[in-house]
Amino acid sequence: MSALGWLAVAAGGWGLAVLAALAGGGRAGAIRLCCALSGLGGAAAMAGGVSALLWGNGPVVTVGPAEVAGSLQLQATSLAGVFAALLGLVAVAIAAYIPRYHEPGPGTALYLAVYNLALVASVAVLAAGGVVTFLVAWESMALLCYLLILRHPSRDAVAGGAFWFLALSETGFVLIIAAFVILATKTHSMELSVIAARAHLVSPAWRDTAFLLALAGFGFKAGLVPLHVWLPEAHPVAPADGSAFLSGLIVKLGAYGIALFAFRLLPAQPAWTGLVTMAAGALTAAIGILYAMNERDLKRFLAYSTIENIGIIVTAFGAAMIFGAYQQRALAAFLLLAGLYHVANHGTYKTLLFLETGVIEHAAGTRDMDRLGGLIHRLPRTAVISLAGTLGIAALPPLNGFVSEWLIFQGLFQGFRTGSHLLGILIVTAAATLGLTGGLAIYAFVRGYGIPFLGMPRTRPAAAATERGQPVTGPALLAVACVALAVGAPVVLLVLSRAMRTVTGVGLRPVLLPGNLTVLPAHTDFSAFSPTWLAVFLVAVTAVPLLIYLAGRPRADSVTVPVWDGGMVAFKPRMQYSAMTFSAPTRVTFDALYRPSVSVRRASDDPAGRSGPVHYESAVAPLFLRYLYRPVIRAVEWLADVVRPLQSGDVSLYLFYVFLMILLAYLVGAL
Amino acid sequence: MPLWFARGLRRGIVTTRYPARPDRSAAGLPTPPAFRAGVIDRRLADRLVAVCPSRALHRDGGVLVFDVGRCTACGRCQEAAPWAVTPSGEFELAGTSPAQFVKQIGLVQEVGQ
């Protein structure tokens, strides 16, 4: 069956899931059936994605009269293959997760219907072969996600978070429409493949305009700084699987949009647009991780880390564009491949982490790191699975995050191959920024894992947490996927390099995979490593000493003594590093960015009478909200007041408006 | 640092050779008393017990019991009866059982003072 066929099957499965959810009316059985169908759809989507990667772009299938612009045009492309496969994986994991996470009920049924519709919309975005199809699918995907976030509209901050999502998403949508309209009008086609074929006819000015519009428009969805503010607002208020879906997939669709314009519709962009893209990506990565560092809410923390990872991906894309402009087509393909690899990896472990956050929230009743602690004893399964995801996202070998980030770095380090000193320096600067980001990411995730899971419970609920009846299969599946994506890197690269031949026309494989599980970054004379052997080695260096110890340890039975605590102190939870104290050094180092505010309150300020509680707070200022969005919001409100007179309520006046618009449209068309 | 290096060379070695050789500085140290046998009667013994601030002395019938471990070498008993109590000059006192520290001094019948 063709890739498009598989995707159709997936959409069908999800359609059935919608029906099952609505018909079942929230009964447990119906929900389980719905999830089973959803999972099957996911499997089909994975099959479709992989086959699209392997067998290249399929034909454009038009449903309905071809000459009607509004007809449904579908095409399975290699570029979308990675995203489709990821969509499938996420769908399967979430399907396995939902039955134990959501309690049965009509609300859940409705939620599931919306969720599966969102899956359909997403796959439609990926399979869209025409402009109109793409835009319709995109907009419906956005609206359905808005509904997803509104799962519990009565809770506070939910409406606000959802509105941030919708507002920014619609703003971006306008820019996307503009970009597509430019291309469609300049190439006289609404079909993406035709647009791609005729792109060289468009004048450079229009092409760059269209690209920048698309970059900004999709940047809103992908969360490029400073367009990122919706992520930390929307993720915490959505249900865990909703957040996972948002971070695991929807955000990636933004990246897909950027890739679609950069590598399919408008190949051979000038270097400076690539530079803009790369700069935006690097900035996003650094800012994202820096803000993640000072979040106490696990979901906000993960949301900011998503921003960071999107930054890494977009950096890779931008660099690929630069290399493309400088005829380094092998490196360009290599960096695009690395970026897509990172898309798959991040989708995997970020989904995992959000799902496990849901488990923690159900088990301990909070997402505030400073109210958790010691969970590794209470939630061992969760701890192990989360550790896999954490190692992955911290880009530590032998997990998958390390592989893709290593590839990206190897690509960036070859900036000198552009032949331009300036560009070489700029690309390596981006690499350095990513290096800082990577270091901070390890710091951030030592904190993000250590504070909740290690040490002592900081609150009674955390001490009483239990994972009985909590979902496990979904996250476990993703953990396995994380390991597979690392150990099986050569296979993944094999598949991706085939896709690159379709997308960029460059056959990477001979250089990239010289055999014996080694990977070379696009050029034989630069560097090489083998994720598989590295994993084997790391397992060995930990296992061998352990075995030696177990074999040779003295037979006399040892005694266990309590931790040395300096004598008299009975350790109290308040005597361990908290999330905010752990990240205090960053607040000092980057205070220019954070503008931290400090307040100390004592029971008595009398130096001799000092006693009683000491209360210390250090808050980080939300710069972008304060200095970027507040003014915009005020301006919009002012504008709304200004144009209110147009709203007279007189029908004839409205008809007049319509007439004017049509006239305007004709004039524009005539020009 | 070279300054300190030079100082060290100029200063030379001050480290004691103890235990290989005896250390002269030990001479100046206060040491527990040694009780001359045959001159202490019960009355004197009771006076010594009374002046001892650290309960190192007590009389057990006809015997004056001296616990070296409790002695702080304050010298009050020597002041009280210099003819009967003299410094032992002994500072290597560490032992591995409390019993080692308990010394019995036999008392004589009334001695005229």
Binding site: S578, V598, A603, S611 | W4, G8, R11
Partner: protein
């Protein structure tokens, strides 16, 4: 050496009229006036306003609890003791007027069950957590169990508590630090010392002065002479005994020798805390030589058993002094010069652990700590007694209040001590003790220990047994300046340096 003199207290007469007390008992440099409970608050206002220094605050327990405030009228060259009988269980919150009184308020509550009005939270000072109502206390009626006494130190928000101790580094006393930190800066710092409380004041009751001195020396062994001297002087002024002048000269020599070796030890500790091993070795050579001088001159490395009620038990071996002292001090001086020339060392000291003049005065700090902060208090000069009448020391004062200032003050004092020892030795010190006359009484005694003014107040009954003894070594005072000094820094590693420069003992404050 510019001395920032405290605000001149009004003349004693004007003060007494101000606090409205007629009957005055004068005893050896200390004036005792009764103040009715009703007028206590105004009296404290007057005295504190006039710049008098609240040196101590303690209670005695007859048929009713009596509060005694010891004021240092440093420009009047004497002490003023106000006696106030507390008839109910509360008295005006004195620490609101004179913050220096806070720790004593807590102590008095623990021991006697009377507390300052207004119900401000009180800290645990001496009573261990396991102490029940039957735990021995100085007061007749047992205070409430100390559960309510100790204001809990809790940490809220984004700071956490860094526990340290009580078992700390090697060769130091047990002390518990509660270090409240945000991860970077030190938000708060508090100390627990009750695990070294040996109930000395409780033990001294019913003892004869001789036995009392034996224990008093061991209250703070590193200032044995000073504490013993203060207790002996208290007994003497209580019973009206006149120690022979030669004995007083001997006491003076012992006290200055004590100051010398303590400052050498402080220098060694400073080097250790700054990680300067060579400097530590040099300072320890000086310290060891000075200790051997002590042993040669007085027969004990730490000068135990020199002071006796009414005089001294041992006279100095002046020959040994002439032989030993120059060499020992020469070592100290050379080590100090080398240290002052070592920038890596000096940089750690400068602007570290600052105690401002205002803090020092507010908290009633004494000794080198206060003098390094520009408060020129020194009981050898402010409340001079024999042998210092004829041999006044020059007070070393610095203004900056940092570790460096304390270090320099110690060096200057060491030099001054050597000069004083020369004078006193020339003045013909000797041994001997005046017999203690019978009949009871109460009196105040003081001596300037290496850490600052050590106070003692003793009352004896008719047959010469102690009914109440108050020991106030300098450590009791200066520890309360320590957390301010520590919080003026943001760096953990400075805290050992600050502790070394304060050179206090836990034994002294917990007694």
């Amino acid at each position: 050496m510019t001395a920032l003199q405290p605000v001149p207290a009004g003349t004693l007469a004007s003060l007494l009229t101000a606090i409205g007390s007629a009957s005055v008992r004068d005893g050896g440099g200390a004036v005792t006036v009764p103040v009715p409970a009703a007028r206590l608050e105004t009296a404290v206002h007057h005295l504190a306003g006039a710049g008098a220094r609240l040196a101590d605050l303690f209670a005695t327990d007859g048929d009713q609890v009596t509060l005694r405030l010891v004021w240092g009228l440093d420009t009047e060259r004497q002490y003023l003791i106000t006696e106030t009988a507390i008839d109910d269980l509360e008295y005006p919150p004195l620490s609101d007027i004179a913050p220096a009184a806070f720790a004593e308020e807590c102590e008095i509550y623990e021991q006697f069950g009377v507390r300052p009005a207004g119900g401000k939270p009180l800290n645990r000072v001496a009573l261990p957590p396991h102490a029940g109502p039957d735990f021995p206390r100085l007061g007749h009626q047992p205070a409430q169990p100390p559960a309510e006494v100790h204001a809990p130190h809790t940490v809220g928000g984004q700071a956490f508590e860094f526990p340290f101790g009580p078992v700390r580094q090697v060769g130091v006393e047990s002390l518990y630090y509660g270090l409240v930190t945000s991860g970077e800066e030190i938000v708060d710092l508090y100390l627990f010392t009750w695990h070294k409380h040996r109930g000395l004041e409780w033990r001294l009751r019913g003892r004869r002065p001789a036995e009392a001195l034996f224990l008093a020396e061991r209250a703070e062994g590193l200032s044995a002479t000073a504490v013993a001297w203060s207790v002996a002087a208290a007994v003497e002024s209580a019973l009206g005994a006149e120690p022979p002048p030669a004995a007083l000269l001997t006491r003076g020599i012992a006290l200055e020798l004590e100051r010398l070796y303590n400052h050498a030890a402080a220098m060694a500790a400073l080097c250790q805390s700054t990680g300067l091993s060579v400097g530590q070795a040099a300072a320890e050579i000086a310290l060891e030589r000075l200790l051997r001088v002590n042993a040669a001159v007085f027969g004990h490395r730490y000068l135990f058993g020199v002071v006796e009620a009414g005089g001294v038990r041992r006279g100095p071996d002046l020959a040994a002094l002439q032989v030993g002292l120059p060499g020992g001090y020469g070592e100290l001086r050379r080590a100090a010069d080398a240290l002052l020339a070592t920038n890596s060392f000096m940089d750690r000291l400068e602007a570290t652990g600052i105690v401002t003049t205002e803090q020092a005065r507010r908290l009633g700090l004494v000794g080198p700590v206060a003098r390094a902060s520009g408060v020129a208090v020194d009981s050898r000069v402010d409340q001079p007694a024999a042998p210092y009448f004829g041999h006044p020391p020059a007070i070393a004062v610095r203004g900056t209040g940092d570790v460096l200032a304390r270090f320099q003050v110690m060096l200057d004092e060491a030099a001054e001590s050597v000069r004083l020892i020369g004078d006193l030795a020339a003045a013909g010190p000797g041994t001997g003790a005046a017999p203690l006359p019978g009949g009871g009484g109460a009196g105040l005694g003081w001596a300037e220990s290496p850490r600052g003014e050590a106070l003692a107040w003793v009352s004896l009954d008719a047959d010469g047994r102690i009914t109440r003894a108050r020991l106030r070594p300098a450590s009791v005072r200066n520890w309360r300046g320590f957390d301010d000094a520590a919080r003026s820094q943001n760096v953990f590693t400075d805290i050992p340096i600050i502790e070394a420069s304060f050179w206090l003992t836990v034994a002294g404050t917990a007694r």
